[in-house]
Symmetry: C2
Subunit: 415 residues, 2 copies
């Protein structure tokens, strides 16, 4: 059994070689990885069936089971993602800027990989393939630690992907998977500052909280989404209804789905009954504040605590607020700093909302569901950061890089 | 006594207001802060004298005592720094980029403050003033926790600075200082994720290690500097000598002073005796590897462990390496990823060094002492980051900001 330290050492060594690979070799490797997924479909599916059987015997929810399953169409999709990553520009080696100092010293910044990335995630095995591709393209070695439910799928996937990458010229330990489901392995990973440059946790609140609180390796926090839409009194209410329905129903289990609706008090009486009807027609359960429950029948009153909650389900809670200022204050206090939207016709109100809402993405007259690397046109996405340092919002290949300064002198001395 | 949680809450509230301040108000506040330092010089000096007396009675080294002392010339310098910060451009509110998606959605990034910054630092009280100025200019609230040796100086400085800033229009808790020297206060600060957005430790290895290992708040690690100069066989040896002397002697107690000298074996016999003579003439103690000690008399052989060490003193160790590859490997293994330099005439060798050395700053034919915000022309500097995420190398005002995405739609729905 490979120890975690060995895994880390190998990844660090591999990262040195990965940092030197040309875009051409990396793109050939990505194509080869995509081909390998398709060629080894039977092996992948059979490993996945073992995971699915084990999970079924535990009797989990259908939604969880669905996330775990790898079939022909999902494998095709994973392969397509890898081929798309191959077509994206290579950020490594890019001279970001240069300037010359009065003493003639030329100073610049060059983009380089982070080094070794640790991914800690839950059941979705397609993360294994996406993360491998994005890390390889950005010149980083990756250590993958998926959920224990997907251990067989992830092990086979990582083997297939790494073998293909190595054949195309990548170093031996470019893509490694933690082969044990022992929790101690995660604890070790979180202490390996010497070998791991950054940890990215992806999954539920408990997983992220545990990594953020226990890791000594720098973490990029990918967040939960308690997203809001605020309807200002001058909003186009005809436009508001489809935006709210889209944000809530287009895919309710995602972090950028809307969970809370704030409505200006001056339009509450006309707008709330209408939107509640539309939401209920789309099978959404509506809850609300003490004022909202007085306006429409059968709306459950929620507790203060629930304003912090991410439902990830066909549920929404409505709050009536006195004005834009109260909406901003409420969102900054109870929100999760992911995505929040304002619906208004007024530019100055929108600008105030954009400036004062302390979230990764702030939308004006658009669904919250747009917070996504592909929707933004960033190409592949490795997660959505809700922290402020390093990267905020959808993270693409470029966010897995850093810069270093270079200083070009001709015998320059500091005075 | 204000609790740490109260300090945090007030800072968070202040940060909302600070984020909205115009550049004009911030610059007036900075000018007022500079004036206030000069006007309250007597009070500051007398608080500082209490600190100095307490430290003297403990019998510390003169170098440490020197860092603590605030006299007229240092207060003038602190005031000048604040006035310089006032002249720098305001990064807040800058639209960094925008682009339009095929569906007409306009997406962009706008620069905003981080929020609340916690500074944990050792004795130098000028950090109190510099950090206050840089945080204010970047729209952040700051919680200052200086060394216990400087508690009286820091408390008075923060009071004087905050009072001036508030009079000019800053919110009440823009600049706060932790008034207790109790270690538990630091532990609390490191757990206050809800109120503190980032912690910046500045000081010795133990302080930084303790913050990095124990903080739950994201940390920007400012580093120790075990800096290297590698002399390639084709280097201009006449140019090499002043560069090495400058890097070692210009200010040996700083993190960007050179600590290790690597010399290509093909020039070792001619170059090492010469450089040792020059170094000794400048009172530098020279140590070395097993090959170096054979070349020159009275050079102490160092242990493997010592290659990791930062001297911060007039000491340097020399190692003979077989080629550029060995030099790169040695630096990446034993260095502290701060600043490393190559002396060579060959562009391709320099480029390889720049690309493969895993450090914040990589210099070609220039002294390591240039790694500094002012030397780079970045204006004020809050520290030198040796970590890879968020900021790497000298950190200026811009590095205390983050960006958020804004999405401008006209009823856009996700398909």
């Amino acid at each position: 059994m490979t120890t975690m330290i060995e895994l880390g050492k190998r990844a660090k060594e591999a990262s040195v070689e990965l940092g030197k690979l040309s875009a051409e070799v990396k793109n050939i490797a990505l194509q080869a990885m995509a081909d390998a997924l398709e060629k080894n479909e039977d092996e992948i599916v059979s490993a996945n069936l073992r995971d699915v059987a084990a999970v079924k015997s535990k009797g989990v929810k259908p939604a969880l089971l669905d996330r775990l399953i790898l079939d022909n169409s999902r494998i095709t999709k994973m392969a397509r993602s890898l081929r798309e990553i191959a077509t994206l520009p290579d950020p490594i080696g890019q001279i970001v800027k240069t300037w010359t100092r009065p003493n003639g010293l030329i100073i610049g910044q060059i983009r380089v990989p982070l080094g070794v990335i640790g991914m800690i995630y839950e059941s979705r095995p397609d993360v294994t393939s996406d993360a491998s591709g994005i890390c390889l393209k950005s010149g980083n070695a990756v250590i993958l630690r998926g959920g224990s439910d997907a251990i067989n799928s992830n092990t086979v996937l990582a083997e297939v992907l790494n073998e293909a990458a190595v054949k195309a010229g990548a170093p031996k330990a470019a893509i490694q998977v933690v082969r044990t489901t022992d929790r101690e392995a995660v604890n070790e990973l979180m202490r390996m500052r010497r070998y791991v440059d950054v940890l990215i946790p992806r999954g539920g609140l408990d997983l992220i909280k545990s990594v953020v609180e226990n890791s000594r390796v720098p973490v990029i926090e990918t967040g939960i989404g308690n997203c809001h839409i605020y309807v200002e009194e001058d909003a186009d209410l005809q436009e508001a209804i489809p935006i709210i329905l889209n944000a809530k129903c287009q895919r309710p289990g995602t972090c950028n789905a809307v969970e809370k609706l704030l409505v200006n008090q001056n339009i509450a009486e006309i707008f709330i009954p209408t939107i509640v009807r539309s939401l209920r027609e789309s099978d959404v359960e509506v809850r609300g504040c003490s004022q909202t429950v007085k306006l429409v029948r059968d709306i459950a009153l929620i507790s203060d605590e629930e304003w912090y909650k991410e439902y990830l389900d066909l549920v929404i809670s409505i709050k009536i607020v006195s004005d834009l200022g109260e909406a901003i204050k409420h969102i900054n206090q109870y929100g999760s700093h992911h995505t929040d939207a304002i619906l208004t016709r007024d530019f100055s109100k929108a600008l105030r909302f954009i400036k004062e809402i302390d979230s990764a993405a702030v939308n004006w007259n658009a669904s919250t569901r747009f917070t996504d690397g592909n929707q933004y046109g960033l190409g592949a996405e490795i997660g959505i950061s809700t922290q402020k340092i390093h990267a905020r919002g959808p993270m693409s290949i470029e966010h897995l890089t850093t810069m270093k300064y270079f200083v070009l002198g001709r015998g320059h001395l500091r005075q």
